[in-house]
Amino acid sequence: MTAELVRGQNHPLPDTRLEITVSAGHPVVAGAALGDERGKVPGVEWVAHPVAPSLPGVDVPRQAAADQRLAVDLAAVPDAVHRVSVLLALPVGTGGPASFGRAAAPYVAVTGSDGTEIASYTITGLDSESAVVALELYRRQGAWKVRAMGQGYEGGLAALLGDQGLERPADLAASILETERARHTPAAPVQPPAPVQPPVPVQPPAPEPAPAVPHSAPATPGTGGPISYTHPRRRAAAPEPAPAPAPAASTAQAPQGPSVPVAGDAAGWSMDERLYNQVWGMFEDLARTAAAYRSACDFAESRLDRELDETLSDYRSRVGGANDAARSAARARHDELVERAQEVLDRDLAQLAVESEVVEPALPPAYARWDNPVWHAYRPPAEEPMAVRLGDLHLPERTELRIPMLVRLPMERGLWVDSGRGRSEAAGLLDETELKRLALDSAVAHTARLLAVHPPGGFVVHVVDAAGAGAAALAPLVDTGVLAAPPARGAAGVSAVLEQLTERVDLLQMALRNGAVDALPPGLDAARQLLIVHDFPHGFDDRAVTRLRYLADEGPGVGVHLLMVADRADAAAYGPVLDPLWRSLLRLTPVPDDHLADPWVGHAWSYEPPLLPPGSRILRQVLAQVADARPAKRS
């Protein structure tokens, strides 16, 4: 089973012949540094890099690429080597990203000789660093283990190599990066220069005097300080006995605060689940923190009212200044309490904001905003994620602190993108056609995301658009060919699609109830189905409406989901018959609106629909990839 590591975590290696794969989504230079028992790299000949790619037991790729493979045979490395650090650096001057923070988080996996993945690690939390120690393989009591490092260097490869204990690290770093740049320059297809000197298995040099400063030994990973896995929620669980003395690590970065949140710092079997739980933890923390603040303010307010009333009812104090004094004292008490509440709120929100900054870039596509670089490195997934992001949630106390709104998959309820005005202020400012267009646009964005996060062929989308009014907005779906069939037009088209899906639901339900799943016709695909209904109730007769209600009720249990883009007022003619339908759907809005409540305290949260960055072509790019990856249709 693959262990998904978080930073600082280690894992035993059952095998000495390993393959380490790196996928970064953009070209990176990969290398490996061999360290002695003190963790020091004695000289340049102990570093495997594209210019000198082979050392005993270690082979690294000869050039920068988005996907790298390193072969390691730990049985063959010299006995003096106690540590193998896997390094990644961004090539300079090749048009790629200048720092890891600007691109998708690199993913590193360790695979055994039989091809099973032993451990993997997504290097999250990088920002302006352009070089990083990704993993470290180290000897511990005769056995080898792997540790997720994620130690980034703002100073780039030179700083990284310097930290490994190399003398004159800048020269080596320059030679590696210069070679890479020269190779990249299209004008002159230079042959990679022959290795300066065939690397020889070196004997460890004579023991030097102990280094004055301990180098970044395994015990001191992190960005300049000890990694803290403290979660804000658990902050007070055990006050640390004393702040651990900061290690004298000569790392290239400025030391950060004592409690640096880490992405994926929650319980779970996979990184997916950890991040999901972490986001929910943040959601709950924010709800609770806001509740504490609001109840303190409410209390201060009511106490002030009561005390002011008392001063008025006291006849004796009306004469003289006693009354005024009592009133100002009451106000001061109120202000003092509110101020203390505000302090606590600010403290908690600051903590959550820091966590959000770390977590947001680390999110996989299913949870990420559309402007997250992870979408540019999008590849169709092999399995369905736990949840999908339908938008952002925030509270008025700190509107810029956004919590991803994650909804578990498979969805238990259908979705309804409300194209009506409702009571929302933002919707009131837009004219009706614009609002309808926005509603369909956000429905298309939700659909694209659902398509993208399901494995190829695992999600089939049908569209009903009776009058063809949504053709323009639906174009990204139609043009890229991700739909099962062109949008259904007219009453006949509507009833045909509904009939097909109703039959499917009937069939699957029958099979499930009778435990006869293997009796299903062989041609039936196992994919989940999504029906987008635009322009409801146009083109719907009574029979079609009944079928739609049936799908909304019974569909989710057998993987048939509904996405309505509708204004409830348009269907007012049906009267209360449709109320259960609307109630059963999760209402989303195309403009920010506060209609969602959290499950703990019941605050009204402002929902913000997912926005595509203006002018971005990411949606079409992703959809095109989805279409390409789809298994060929059975004829």
């Binding site: 669980a237 006050p239 923390d285 504490a292 109840s295 209390f299 309490l337 203390r340 606590v344 703990w600």
Partner: protein, 192 residues
């Protein structure tokens, strides 16, 4: 330092070393009624409940008990209702955790109570106790033995209140009667 108290005894506690408390747990344990005969289900089960009432300026603003397991602000948590009791070996069958650092600023007193929901008096309950533990080091701050404690169905156990910037605990151990914390309100108020 375990303070073994009899009912009615009140004592102010401060964390050893002069620091103030940051996290406390109220634990409640009792022994399940023994099973009888063929229809063991008909044994009268004993259900004791632990509750915490949060006061701001002598007004109750929130309460954590078996129907509201977490205070709105998340600082006080009940681990869940136990309807029958445990082995009577000294383990907590119900617990309430209080994270004093996260208690909202206006709340100045938290009162812990124990009620017998099924109506047995403490005389009839075997091996019942309640205690307050400093969660940061597992140290017991106060312990009451409830069984044989007289013809009462409830106890107002202790209060934790703000002193300056920190918190202090006062053990109350005041016997009372009532099914849930609501019945105890008149008895709690004099202790604030």
């Amino acid at each position: 330092m375990t303070v073994n108290m009899t009912k009615g005894q009140a004592i102010s506690l401060e964390k050893q070393g002069g620091g103030s408390l940051s996290q406390v747990r109220m634990g409640l344990g009792w022994q399940a009624a023994p099973r009888r005969g063929l229809f063991g289900k008909r044994t009268q089960e004993i259900d004791l409940d632990a509750s915490a009432v949060l006061f701001a300026d002598k007004q109750p603003v929130d309460v954590v008990f078996f129907r509201h397991l977490v205070s709105d602000d998340g600082s006080v948590k009940h681990t869940g209702d136990n309807l029958v009791g445990g082995a009577g070996q000294g383990g907590d069958d119900e617990a309430i955790l209080v994270d004093l650092q996260r208690v909202p600023v206006h709340i100045d007193t938290i009162v812990f109570t124990v009620n017998s929901f099924t109506g047995q008096t403490f005389q009839e309950v075997q091996n019942a106790f309640c205690r307050i533990v400093d969660e940061t080091n597992g140290q017991e701050l106060a312990r009451y033995t409830l069984d044989g404690g007289g013809n009462y169905t409830a106890q107002i156990m202790a209060k934790v209140h703000r002193v300056g910037s920190g918190w202090q605990m006062t053990a109350l151990g005041n016997p009372a009667n009532g099914r849930t914390f609501q019945d105890l309100m008149p008895a709690i108020l004099p202790h604030l």
